[in-house]
């Protein structure tokens, strides 16, 4: 699904040299490593959000969800349908799916609320639904559990497991329980590649 060869990313004064990786289709891949190992940099390079040298071959539509959820100044529902709107898709066809995902993540009662007024955890849930609602083939999640409570982490795990057959997930997380619940493959940055 994603092939990375000879990847080098220069960020300010630091240069990250990555090993060659191959992320497989419909697997949940977890990227681990110490702080500053370049996990976020790797995700951003895969999402083509930063410049890099080397080769990244991506098969499919990809979306990246950052560590701090970036929420637009509008209702939760309007935030979620943004990717559908810009693709000029019929929103009514997605209503059921939006409700379903919102229920799984327990934000179905917040759909009409201004998303900027939500807690950090709720904002993260909105951002995650927004990044999966348009059926991308690959979803990159950068520390999605940072602001989530234990119950919410379980809800997110359930949602990811449910979508596993349709979406390839690449997740950066330090949350061991969350990782163990989901992991198909693990990639360790700054050392050897580990497969579980």
């Amino acid at each position: 699904m994603i092939e990375i060869n000879n990847l080098v990313v220069k960020y300010k004064t630091i240069t990250f040299k990555f090993e060659d990786y191959h992320f497989k289709k419909n697997k949940i891949s977890v990227i681990s490593g110490r702080n500053g190992a370049g996990k976020t940099t790797l995700l951003k390079a895969i999402a083509s959000l930063i410049e890099y040298e080397g080769k990244i071959k991506v098969n499919g539509v990809i979306t990246y969800n950052s560590q701090e959820a970036v929420i637009f100044n509008r209702s939760v529902f309007e935030n979620i349908i943004y990717p559908l709107k810009i693709r000029k898709l019929d929103i009514s066809l997605y209503q059921e799916k939006i409700m379903e995902y919102a229920k799984v993540l327990s934000i179905d009662h917040l759909l009409n609320k201004n998303a900027l007024k939500l807690s950090s955890g709720e904002k993260m849930k909105v951002a995650i639904i927004r990044s999966i609602i348009f059926n991308p083939e690959i979803v990159l999640l950068d520390e999605p559990t940072t602001h989530l409570d234990l119950e919410s982490i379980t809800e997110l795990s359930n949602l990811i497991k449910k979508l596993k057959n349709q979406i390839t997930f690449i997740i950066v997380s330090h949350n061991k329980t969350f990782i163990e619940e989901l992991i198909d493959e693990e990639y360790y940055l700054g050392g050897k590649i580990c497969f579980s």
């Binding site: 999402a47 959000l49 539509v61 990809i62 979306t63 990246y64 969800n65 950052s66 701090e68 970036v70 637009f72 100044n73 509008r74 943004y82 990717p83 810009i86 693709r87 951002a127 927004r130 990044s131 348009f134």
Partner: protein
């Protein structure tokens, strides 16, 4: 003296003097028109400068920020030199069009600069998110305009305040001609020089009232801006 002038000012206000009210109308018309035109181009320019990467970006931003603080009289002088020099055949000197031109050029960098500042603060994350959700350039610009709407409104308020309170440029290019190019600020300046303080205070009060009403109206659109 101050009390006497203030009472006189209110008498003048409620006398519904034709000249006073035509001066008020002209001031408002020119300032509003200049602000509308400058807002349109300033918003576009501000957003384009902040989201684009080009060679002279830093220099362009410095230039915009420098012009934000240009003394109106200097700008008036520049406009005067142009309308009496290369564009002399347009006969713009001492006309309302010249005043409109000067005010537009005065307000334009204020709006552009403020939009660059506010947009650069927030745009990186918003644009990054929009990109990853599949937005094209037009989608991104539209999204950014919507997201920084409160700042755009704030820039417009600042621009209008600058336009309506400006005296140097309109005096130079408009000439302060009675019943023609005289506006509130040039009226105040003239009466001050003649020692007619009550008239100046009256016009000053109206100017403040207009500013207060407009800011209140705009704050309503802005929502929690003044909270």
């Amino acid at each position: 003296m101050i009390l006497e002038s203030t009472i006189k000012a209110f008498e003048l206000l409620f006398s519904f003097d034709k000249e006073i009210y035509s001066i008020i109308f002209l001031s408002l018309a020119i300032s509003i028109l200049a602000t509308i035109v400058a807002s349109f181009f300033g918003t576009l320019l501000g957003i384009l400068i902040s989201i684009s990467d080009f060679k002279l970006k830093r220099f362009t931003k410095k230039l915009v920020f420098t012009f934000m603080g240009i003394p109106p009289v200097v700008l008036g002088l520049i406009v005067l030199l142009f309308i009496t020099g290369p564009f002399d055949n347009l006969n713009l000197l001492f006309t309302k069009s010249a005043m409109f031109l000067a005010q537009t050029l005065l307000v334009l960098p204020i709006i552009t600069g403020n939009i660059i500042i506010s947009s650069e603060k927030t745009q990186k994350k918003i644009l990054e998110t929009a990109t990853t959700l599949g937005a094209n350039k037009i989608d991104k610009i539209t999204l950014l305009i919507k997201e920084i709407k409160p700042f755009i409104l704030m820039s417009i308020i600042l621009g209008f305040s600058r336009a309506i309170s400006e005296v140097g440029a309109v005096m130079l290019v408009g000439g302060n001609i009675k019943n023609d190019t005289r506006v509130m600020t040039t009226y105040i300046a003239l009466n001050n020089s003649m020692g007619e303080y009550s008239s100046s205070i009256a016009m000053g009060i109206i100017l403040l009232l207009i500013a207060f009403i407009l800011h209140t109206l705009l704050a309503k659109f802005r929502g929690d801006f003044y909270d």
